[in-house]
């Protein structure tokens, strides 16, 4: 683990990673153990998986409980009102995470 990185951008142990599902119990085989990896994976996984987790609040829960990143969780919450689905949702999530990540790494 790289000590020079801010806490939020560090990798977490594999058992605390985010595991992408498409529905209850259906695991895609993709997981992310850091915010950087999370950004990579949300570009790859199916839109169905993004919709499943986004509207269950799984992403926010992971940001808060594992990454301890309340700010990003708040950014995601703001997207709820836009009622996004499919590739539009993916684009928005990628945009929010990449802007946030850029800001964090510049600190």
């Amino acid at each position: 683990m790289d000590e020079s990185k801010p806490r939020i951008t560090k990798a977490v142990p594999r058992e605390r990673a985010f595991y992408f599902f498409t529905s209850i119990g259906n695991y895609t085989g993709k997981s992310a153990a850091s915010l950087e990896e999370f950004l990579e994976k949300i570009k790859e996984v199916s839109a169905k998986s993004l919709e499943f987790h986004f509207y269950r609040g799984d992403f926010e829960k992971w940001f808060i409980e594992v990454l301890q990143d309340e700010e990003l969780a708040e950014e995601f919450k703001k997207l709820y009102t836009l009622n996004l689905f499919g590739e539009t949702l993916r684009d928005q999530l990628c945009h929010v995470v990449s802007v946030h990540l850029k800001r964090l790494t510049e600190i």
């Binding site: 990673a17 599902f21 209850i24 119990g25 259906n26 695991y27 895609t28 085989g29």
Partner: protein
């Protein structure tokens, strides 16, 4: 002969058999006893003996032998959970695994109380099939996401939630008893029956 002597005699016989030969063939009487037990495991040796036309002591001897060899694993009640008021869901999980890790994944699954049955299957890829019980869909998802998906070697998981049960029974033993050989083992691993 009283029961105590009979048990001692049986134990001696078992020890000799186990020392001399690790396997034995089930004959038609053993199979009939197993079938009778699968229908009703609480019937007496006498009732079973009368039905099968053999002495109750023969029934006793055969059952003890099969218990000692692990052919009869245990006696348990088949409970109708709906009538018992237990609210839960059952799901069938198909776990695609890296072949190098599949044994370990199966062992981990066996150690989970939520997992009722675990099997391996080979079609295009190596799969582990497991029957799981959970309180709700949410707890099922939590269990799979937190305990199964992170296991090394798990490639992906498909889960089907059971919506209606049409039949549930213990498998009836096959009748081709001539080909049926069972090895004496302590665990549950791979009895080829």
């Amino acid at each position: 002969m009283d029961v105590e002597k009979l048990i001692i005699k049986e134990e001696k016989v078992q020890r000799l058999r186990i020392r001399g030969n690790n396997t034995f063939n089930l004959d038609s009487i053993d199979l009939k006893i197993l079938e009778a037990l699968q229908e009703d495991a609480r019937q007496t040796y006498t009732t079973m003996g009368k039905r099968l036309g053999i002495a109750h002591s023969t029934v006793y001897d055969r059952i003890k032998k099969m218990e000692n060899y692990g052919i009869i694993k245990k006696y348990m009640a088949l409970i109708d959970c709906e009538k018992a008021g237990a609210k839960h869901i059952i799901a069938i999980m198909t776990i695609y695994t890296d072949p190098k890790e599949s044994e370990k994944v199966a062992e981990k699954l066996c150690a989970c109380t939520q997992v009722l049955e675990v099997y391996t299957s080979l079609s295009e890829e190596l799969q582990i099939i497991a029957k799981v019980v959970a309180e709700s869909q949410e707890s099922l998802h939590e269990f799979i996401a937190n305990s199964i998906a992170p296991l090394p070697g798990v490639l992906r998981i498909r889960t089907s939630i059971v919506t209606k049960k049409f039949k549930e029974n213990q498998p009836i033993i096959i009748n081709n008893y001539r080909n049926l050989t069972v090895a004496k083992e302590n665990g549950d691993k791979g009895n080829k029956v």
